[in-house]
């Protein structure tokens, strides 16, 4: 099921804010069409890693290499800002949901297709004149939006304001919007946060659908272990900005260092804690 080719290579990534080291010499690889999970206690630096990958922070040191299926490679630490999304086709969602709340659900998804639409509108001029090339492109964009709305069960809410959606719907909308940019790598920041068991199950199905049907690689930050264990192919564990484990979900589940990190136990007391917990 998983390709052995890496899609994302993070090498010696470090992010420093003044005196604070948020990420320290992190290296890991995510494979193509894999679902890779980035886990760790709060404050471990996971969102910081995301921000470095998606161009919101410029890393203090290190290399982030993204390889497209067609062979083209991008050094993400050099691409800043919108270019990571536009050129390297990396999409993301946010921990604190960033939707365009005043705009409708449909509009949110069409805005996501801004770049191809802008090109088709001849940088607005063809659009102003109502030329066919633009109208066709717009129709296509709406169709693609409809497709994702259907997959995320939001079709009946298409004309509602995004801000009026229920929490779970908003999370799904964010993912749908990210998928409308036709990404090669999808980065999800705590997509299951606040979802109940049923919704988490639906999320799992959605992510596996995306991976299967669209061959999109997924990188996800999550606290919900049912999601992580259920669907990830590969798990990387961070604590205080340092990688403490890297492997398959089963290996991670039983790794004493990981358990200790979550329970807040000192290294030399791990064996004792394990015994107490019954491992």
């Amino acid at each position: 099921m998983t390709d052995t080719e890496p899609i994302l290579r993070v090498e010696h990534l470090s992010m420093r804010f003044g005196g604070l080291v948020a990420v320290d010499d992190l290296s890991f690889t995510a494979k193509r069409a894999d679902i890779t999970a980035l886990i760790g206690p709060n404050g471990a630096g996971k969102t910081t890693v995301f921000n470095c990958i998606t161009g919101f922070y410029k890393p203090t040191a290190g290399l982030i290499r993204l390889e497209h299926p067609d062979g083209r490679a991008y050094l993400l630490e050099r691409l800043l800002n919108f270019r990571v999304a536009k050129l390297a086709r990396v999409a993301r969602t946010f921990q604190n949901i960033r939707l365009f709340s005043g705009m409708t659900v449909l509009e949110n998804l069409v805005v996501a297709q801004h770049n191809p639409l802008m090109a088709a509108s001849g940088f607005t001029f063809a659009g102003l004149l109502g030329l066919k090339v633009y109208r066709d492109a717009e129709r296509e964009a709406i169709e693609r939006a409809r497709y994702w709305l259907d997959r995320t069960a939001l079709l009946r809410r298409a004309d509602d304001a995004a801000g009026a959606l229920a929490y779970g719907e908003q999370r799904r909308l964010e993912i749908a919007r990210a998928m409308c940019t036709d990404p090669v790598l999808l980065c999800l920041d705590e997509p299951a946060a606040g979802l109940n068991a049923r919704e988490s199950g639906e999320l799992n199905d959605l992510l596996q659908f995306i991976r299967r049907e669209h061959a999109t690689s997924i990188l996800l930050i999550e606290h919900d272990m049912s999601v992580v264990m259920e669907i990830s192919d590969h798990v990387v564990v961070l604590d205080y900005g340092i990688k403490i484990a890297d492997g398959s979900p089963d290996a991670i589940r039983n790794d004493p260092k990981v358990i200790a990190a979550y329970l807040g136990v000192a290294d030399d007391e791990v064996a004792m804690a394990e015994a107490e917990v019954g491992l």
């Binding site: 804010f17 003044g18 969102t47 921000n51 919101f56 922070y57 946010f94």
Partner: protein, 304 residues
């Protein structure tokens, strides 16, 4: 050389006035993240209250200058602080959770209200004040030029220095100062920890207004004239000073003030006096483009 030193003295005096106003801007921006557009006009109001208080005291027969100065300082600081408090309560507090343009528009409205209120109440003409503090000392002389430092200039700088020290003590050592610093760091957290943020914010405005009042008095004594429009230009320049020094930093506000005062003075003295305001405004643009955190400010990381 002598000319240069004279300009230096003038620049430092002017800079002290700007610095006092700048403190109000930087404190408010630091704590609630908004530019108090009406602050420059609060400075103007302070100057006017001082003017009227002076004249009133003279009219009722107070002849002792130190006593008059003391009473004027008292009245102006207290009443201008009241203006600061009222403005915050009426125009800003209700909008604290609104979208970011709302308090700005409200502040612009407040600025217009203050300017026109004073214009209606006191007339649009420039108001002169008979010189109250006179005299000075000659520092250096040459054949062509004497360097003089006037008493009023000394008073301005000393008063500013004293207030800065008092204020640093307030922020660093008192409970209120600690509350203010906490609110500046993280408003929500501070309130969860029991800090009365409404009161802290109010006091921030009050103190800023009081300092602006002192600046107003100094301006009045130094220039001898006042009009309802001085708030606008002084306000933008003082805000420039706050940004230049590093928004949110108190020593930065003072430093910025001094720099702006010096730049403005030297520009008028050596280049052109008509474009001195252009110089000050241009600095604002240059600083915000190239050095947005200012000289002493903390770099802000965007929270994604």
């Amino acid at each position: 050389m002598e000319y240069f030193v004279q300009q230096l003295i003038i620049g430092v005096t002017l800079g002290s006035i700007y610095g006092l106003i700048a403190i109000g801007y930087t404190m408010v921006y630091g704590i609630i993240g908004m530019i108090n557009f009406a602050h420059g006009d609060v400075f103007m109001v302070g100057g006017f209250i001082a003017l009227i208080a002076f004249l009133a005291l003279l009219a009722i027969g107070v002849t002792s200058i130190p006593l008059a100065l003391f009473l004027v300082l008292l009245f102006a600081m207290a009443l201008t602080a009241l203006y600061g408090w009222t403005i915050e309560r009426i125009a800003y507090r209700p909008l604290r959770h609104s979208y970011r343009l709302a308090p700005l528009i409200s502040a612009i409205g407040m600025s217009i209200i203050l300017q026109n209120y004073v214009q209606i109440a006191q007339g649009a003409r420039v108001k002169p004040l008979p010189p109250i503090i006179t005299g000075g000392h000659r520092l250096m002389s040459s054949e062509s030029f004497d360097v003089e430092i006037s008493n009023i200039q000394i008073i301005v700088v000393l008063t500013t220095l004293a207030l800065m020290l008092a204020f640093s003590w307030l922020v660093g050592r008192t409970r209120l100062g600690r509350d203010m610093r906490a609110c500046e760091q993280d408003l929500k957290m501070a309130s969860l920890l029991g800090v009365n943020i409404d009161r802290t914010i109010s006091l921030t405005f009050v103190i800023g207004a009081a300092l602006a009042a002192v600046a107003g008095i100094m301006y009045l004594l130094y220039y001898g004239v006042i009009d309802f429009y001085i708030g606008f230009v002084a306000g933008v320049k003082a805000f420039t000073a706050a940004v230049l020094g590093g928004i949110g930093s108190l020593p930065g506000a003072m430093l910025g003030g001094l720099l702006i005062g010096l730049i403005e003075t030297f520009w008028s003295a050596y280049f052109s006096i008509e474009y001195k305001d252009v110089a000050a405004f241009s600095i604002l643009i240059v600083v915000l483009i190239f050095l947005p955190t200012g000289i002493l400010g903390r770099p802000e990381v965007e929270k994604v």
